[in-house]
Assembly symmetry: C2
Amino acid sequence: MKSLSENDIEYICDLQAPCFQALPAEALELIRASKTQVLFRKGDNLTKQGTFASYVLFIVSGLAIQYVEGDTNKSFNLAIIRPGEFIGMFSLFSNKTFKYSSLALTDCHVFLVEKEAITKIMNENGTFGLSLFRRYSSQTENLFDTLGNALFKQMNGRFADTLLYIDSFKEEYPDIFQLLSRKDIADFAGISTESAVKLLKSLEREGCIQLNTKDILITDYEKLRGISKVG
Amino acid sequence: MKSLSENDIEYICDLQAPCFQALPAEALELIRASKTQVLFRKGDNLTKQGTFASYVLFIVSGLAIQYVEGDTNKSFNLAIIRPGEFIGMFSLFSNKTFKYSSLALTDCHVFLVEKEAITKIMNENGTFGLSLFRRYSSQTENLFDTLGNALFKQMNGRFADTLLYIDSFKEEYPDIFQLLSRKDIADFAGISTESAVKLLKSLEREGCIQLNTKDILITDYEKLRGISKVG
DNA sequence: CTCAAAAATTGAACTTGCTCAATTTTTTTA
DNA sequence: TAAAAAAATTGAGCAAGTTCAATTTTTGAG
């Protein structure tokens, strides 16, 4: 992680997220004034679960992975974060620490917005608050689905979900699987690395997928969706 | 579930939640105008996961249990809801259906507020939105803890958490355990009913708790907290 | 390009917690 | 209050998925 040069700052200062579009000029300036631009290198932690959270991160470019950590060096991957998305919104209120960690899968241009700046604008501008609330909500909904999957599905179904989820990034990011280790994939499904490997091989034998070193090519979506349902 | 008489309505029309306190008179009126008062009988569903959600529920009196449902008649209990709390806020935006079910543990006086009324006020009144956002946030934080527990802890720890959680209602609602079956308790910990029974007996043998038919008395909080940590 | 480290792979043994079935206790209904 | 239904209890066997250890493959550094 390093601070950005002037060039970088000009590049990323373009506030395109829909909730910023609705802002009156003075509020936009407030965000501009309070934000800090940072470049996180591949492998850097953007947020670390449990650390003090005084800001929210807005991803301008790059991909990051969001995950919760358990005690014994176990973790569970929640989502892959794309440009235009926020990290840390769940820590905007009441609780002072990040509820999850996040890690740069590629170099990430990010800016940090102070929580106070956001809540101040929300207080003054209902439309802004509503827009942010909508974003926040859709993240929470994903959390419900994640919880439901973790609780009620077993290995095969969760793993099929995981492959379909990661595959959904492939159009925009063709090398997405190259960025993920077997452990990363396993942690999306909440299973052990060894189990993930065994499932991959088994799905390949059944003709659902093709494995080329790190890349995974889904060859039978219907079958995989079927496994996801039944699982 | 039945509609309320005039008397009931007068009784429950007292909008005491902090986020309502901050409302200007006209917005309060808007909520008053749009809401419907309902009495849910013990055992009634206040919300049913997957059904269309055009309103948010505000609990005036009574206790309810919030849970997510899986496919094969499995469910997982998220929380016990007290008077002054909302149900269905997670469905306020984007998604059209309730993400969880809820069930009246006792008779519940509830009023229903149309989503449109809420979003309209949020749009006009940033302070109201901020206040609602804070509530919503604290629910989401609980969701993270729930997810973490479900993913990383095993039976013993989750079950200790469950007992401590339910016990935290005992001061205000001394008969809280009488309202819950073994299956209800098991579903808070995400384990089978049989496992819950076995754990209860085992905790009793170890001197952590006393069992009197349905009531459970925690006799060694420290030990239970220890199990919660290790688990 | 070569070597060392990290990641992926595989199978066997093991653990956790579930399911099933039988029995007892409690609650509800007539 | 008695009978029926529902809930709680118990133990045995079972299944899902983990852990461990050994091996192979891939990646990264110099």
